[in-house]
């Protein structure tokens, strides 16, 4: 598990947002607060 107070591992990931396919790079969000959420899978119930 990550250590609190350490840098969040950077990544680039394909994404869908509001009708568009984009690439998201975490470090592009420097200067902003980020909530990064993982979940088991699309079309699951919770």
């Amino acid at each position: 598990m990550l250590k609190l107070g350490s840098k969040a591992p950077d990544f680039t990931a394909p994404a869908y947002q509001q009708g568009k396919f984009i690439n998201v790079k975490l470090s592009d969000y420097l200067g902003k607060w980020v909530v990064l959420c993982f979940y088991p899978g699309d079309f699951t119930f919770v």
């Binding site: 607060w33 993982f38 088991p40 919770v46």
Partner: protein, 132 residues
């Protein structure tokens, strides 16, 4: 972020989530095929081939200041996540001179740690405030 492709994210958003959230999901739905990013964050379950419900708060310097990880059947409490962000933002704006006690919400009392507060928290903060 999940191991689903961004194409499946589109299908889920367009065919289900947009029926729950007007206009669809506003933020990027990220794809982590193979779980590489999830593995870097310690939330990828390689036996099940899916990510656990990991939620990471990352500050403007790119530093992880908090996280919560749940196994799949139990959903998150989004209000608590927002409360934590508000608390971290307050502490950051004070340049670390202030701290938020248990149960803090916007508008409630904050603490200013220092020699005068040692042994005196009981005078300024009550246990009942943790549950309000």
């Amino acid at each position: 972020m999940s191991v689903d492709s961004h194409f499946v994210h589109k299908m889920w958003n367009d065919h289900e989530l947009s029926k729950m959230v007007k206009g669809g999901v506003p933020f990027p739905m990220l794809s982590d095929g193979g779980g590489k990013v999830g593995a870097a964050y310690g939330v990828y379950d390689e036996n099940a081939g899916v990510e656990n419900r990991g939620r990471f708060l990352i500050d403007p310097d790119g530093v992880v200041v908090g996280y919560e990880v749940l196994t799949p059947p139990v959903g998150r409490n989004v209000a608590e996540t927002l409360r934590q962000i508000q608390a971290f933002q307050l502490v950051r704006a004070s340049k670390g001179t202030q701290a938020t006690p248990s149960g803090w919400k916007p508008g409630k009392k904050v603490l200013t740690p220092g020699p005068d507060l040692v042994g005196k928290v009981w005078e300024v903060w009550k246990v009942s405030e943790a549950f309000e």
